[in-house]
Symmetry: C2
Subunit: 225 residues, 2 copies
């Protein structure tokens, strides 16, 4: 098990702003966890006792609506932190985290993180920056949900996944989502999502191989948005 101070993953998140000493301290009380695809990391309403640093794999953050549907509000990937919001506001989690892949994460106890947040202004400013970015993205999603069609939102989602998380060697999106997960990001019924995907195929904007999706015409897809 590698040590935090040598771990390259921290470069991608706020932990990079911790000093060598702080990293050593954290390294000593963290635990490394393996999570299988489909497993729930934490649920809505659960008290989080720390944050997770994602070393490998991908997960979704979702919230159950009163009508019984899950709405995915964020995809968290390798390098991201998980659970900071609940940590900061000292509340139970308002979201559920579910692994979309086999994952490897490091769990850092709350006390350590809070200590650094309160003592290291650089670290807390960095967390603040990440949260500001999340908030900005959330605002954009609100506008899209309220004002754009399912067709537009799905196009946007595919482009977002393409640009943010990249593609496999064969050109398919590297983040593999079920049609249901896609529908739950877009905020629509599974059937509607599938129908739009079929339509995009007919228009030669994308192609599919099983559940894998490949964007064939990024420019064309961008014109949909």
């Amino acid at each position: 098990m590698s040590k935090c101070e040598q771990c390259i993953i921290k470069q991608f998140n706020a932990l990079k702003s911790l000093s060598k000493d702080e990293l050593v301290r954290i390294s000593n009380c963290r635990t490394s966890i393996t999570i299988k695809k489909g497993e729930v990391i934490f649920e809505e309403g659960e008290i989080l006792n720390g944050i997770y640093c994602v070393r490998e794999g991908i997960c979704k953050l979702s919230k159950l609506s009163s009508n019984g549907k899950d709405q995915i509000v964020k995809i968290v990937v390798k390098g991201d932190l998980l659970g900071q919001r609940s940590m900061v506001s000292d509340e139970v989690s308002n979201l559920q985290a579910t692994a979309l892949n086999d994952m490897e994460v490091c769990f850092i106890p709350k006390s350590e993180i809070i200590f650094d947040l309160q003592k290291n202004p650089k670290f807390s400013f960095d967390v603040l920056k990440e949260m500001a970015k999340d908030l900005r993205e959330a605002d954009n999603i609100i506008v899209n949900m309220a004002q754009k069609s399912v067709r537009q939102r799905l196009a946007e989602t595919l482009i977002y996944i393409h640009n943010s998380f990249g593609t496999n060697p064969d050109g398919t999106l590297s983040v593999l989502l079920s049609r249901e997960d896609l529908a739950n990001i877009v905020g629509t019924a599974i059937e509607s999502a599938i129908r739009v995907i079929s339509q995009f195929k007919k228009e030669n904007l994308i192609s599919t191989k099983g559940k894998h999706i490949k964007i064939d015409d990024l420019i064309g897809l961008s014109r949909v948005v």
Copy 2:
């Protein structure tokens, strides 16, 4: 013009975490601004040179969608800060702020705020907490937008305004919004918003006097959500 260190408004936001000395310093370089109803405080894409502390009045934070409609993502009231997100992430504003009332705000230059954010961990942790709360609310709005009907979202909006901002002596909502603003919060067409309002009236859940809205049956309205 009262001094920051004596101003009671700061109790409602992160500025309460600043020391006496820091408040005196800020007090010396702030400017007090009066904004008339309907005036734009800052626009999308504008570089913000500081943050605003709302001493009096209410404003909306909105974003223009590509289809030409404004989506309101937050209502900011007396006691709130305005513009922290852009400040922290050092980006142009992604939202427009428009006064819904005559307002009085204090403008605090960016350099002062950034200085305190980087030197005073208590202050930056407080700002972090506020942003975490905003993010949580934004996630809830995303879920509502994606999964609930216009009827449900409008009921929820009315209840939110009722609970968060209170009522006038006659029982009407103290935050007076046009039907258009309500529609832009809910994310629907003006006509649809008006139709649902009419329906709520028929069901004796609310009553209206001009553009003033009064919730007559909070329990009943809660059942709509």
